[in-house]
């Protein structure tokens, strides 16, 4: 069993954050996603080829749940006839108005400078490290043999 220790530190925006174990790595396969709630915030965790990313599950436009959208690539073209798709699966499209967000950065494509989804740091960590802390694992049973995902929030 894990030792749950809540030790707060400052996050990027100066607020206190802690590390929350939210799932086992194998719970979210490549190309999959899952919504978790951390400190009352819905966060959608994406697995892009083994790398994990977390976004607030709330579109900044009209607050739709991004997790209900589709993951797609990004269409680019200079002129008609040159269109192609890059980074397949690395963008989430809002299920309502179709705004596209880069899963890696949370940036919107339509207005990348001013519209972005809040991003959360998501990392993998072996169970053997977990037991040393400082992590919060309120909902996940942790075993030293497995690998876990934690969210900093």
């Amino acid at each position: 069993m894990v030792q749950s220790e809540r030790r707060l530190k400052r996050g990027r925006q100066g607020e206190f954050v802690s590390k929350h174990v939210v799932a086992r790595v194998e719970d979210i396969g490549p190309g999959e996603r899952r919504v978790v709630t951390v400190r009352n915030r819905p966060i959608v965790i994406f697995n892009l080829d083994g790398e994990f990313f977390g976004l607030l599950n709330r579109c900044p436009h009209q607050a739709a749940s991004l997790s209900q959208g589709i993951q797609a690539g990004f269409a680019i073209a200079e002129v008609p006839g040159t269109e192609r798709c890059i980074r397949r699966g690395e963008f989430i499209r809002c299920p309502w108005h179709g705004w596209e967000y880069d899963i890696r950065t949370g940036q919107s494509w339509c207005d990348p400078e001013s519209i972005l989804v809040r991003r959360f740091k998501v990392e993998r960590v072996p169970g053997s490290e977990l037991v040393k802390g400082p992590f919060v694992a309120e909902t996940v049973e942790v075993s030293t043999d497995e690998e876990y995902i934690y969210v900093e929030a």
């Binding site: 990004f74 073209a77 200079e78 002129v79 008609p80 269109e83 108005h97 339509c110």
Partner: protein
Amino acid sequence: MPELSEARPDGGSNGTALKIDCDVHPGVPTVEALMPYMDDYWVDEFRNRQIDGLEIATYPPNAPLSCRPDWRRDGERPGADRDQLSDVVLDTFGSDIAICNPVYGGLVALSEQMAAVLCRATNCWIAEQWLDRDPRLRSSIVVPAQNPILAAEEIERCAADARFVQIMLLVANELLLGRQYYWPIYEAAQKHGLPICIHAGSMYRYPTTPSGWPSHYLQDYAATPQLFTAQMQNLMSEGALARFPGITFVLAESGISWLPPYMWRASRTWKGVRGEVPWIKRAPSAEVRDRFRVTLQPFDVTDDHDRIEKLVEQIGGEHMLLFSSDFPHWQFDGDDPVPSAMPEHLVRKMRTDNPLSIYTRLREDK
């Protein structure tokens, strides 16, 4: 491209900045006037078949809008009197240069060949009968959009004359203007650095609204901004803007106040369906601000200082407006096409700086 400050002529007739009227309409009096610029076959066709009355349906000569009452001359087509145009547009309105947009039957003819002959004759007639007689006049090249290959040839022919400063197309044709079908026109425009003026007026190939034919001329004219929005959407969606980055599009006699709501709606849609048209790389509102300009008359905004400032801010800033009188169309009364509440900083921009920044040929010619 030379810096504006270097290229700007030292001064206009009154020793201050050059003032430019970007939309005036000389009237073709009869098809007879164009015959010196046609070959014998076409002269005979028009004469022997007694084909005349080629004014376009968008401007019925006797409709109130087609000519301001005090500018009407008995028995003459609106705008056909050269002295009147110079007197009113240049002397009374205080412009140093006026750009002619002769709107005539070649633009709408169903026959491609007749269209080409009439457009070519119109350009020749403008050059000889107007530009040669008053050095303050410039003109658009009118082209037969019915056949873009012929249109491009006409652009090549006219471009050699520096007094032709842009290319004019009507706002409703056989296809929407972004289609690749029209790209030969844009190739020629970009090559010669000529803006494309999209002017009010329709070929009447389709019902004038998406919901069929209304009963009145008034409704057709009222729907003109709808045609402009359709062309702007299409120029973006077909990738014409992306393919021809050097072309500025001038919206002439379009009205202005419809632009902000169009830009907002188009941008909202684009944010959701961008992947369908990935060559549109920024919101349509940004494209409009960068690639389009709009002429002053008909000024369809409440004549109020704050409202005008707000509108100009919404459409993208003081670089957007081009001064125009739209002579002889009846868009305003009195001797000043500039609405009384127009902020002074906008007047200077629209009369001088903005036209000079897109009409490169006006900068070069002093």
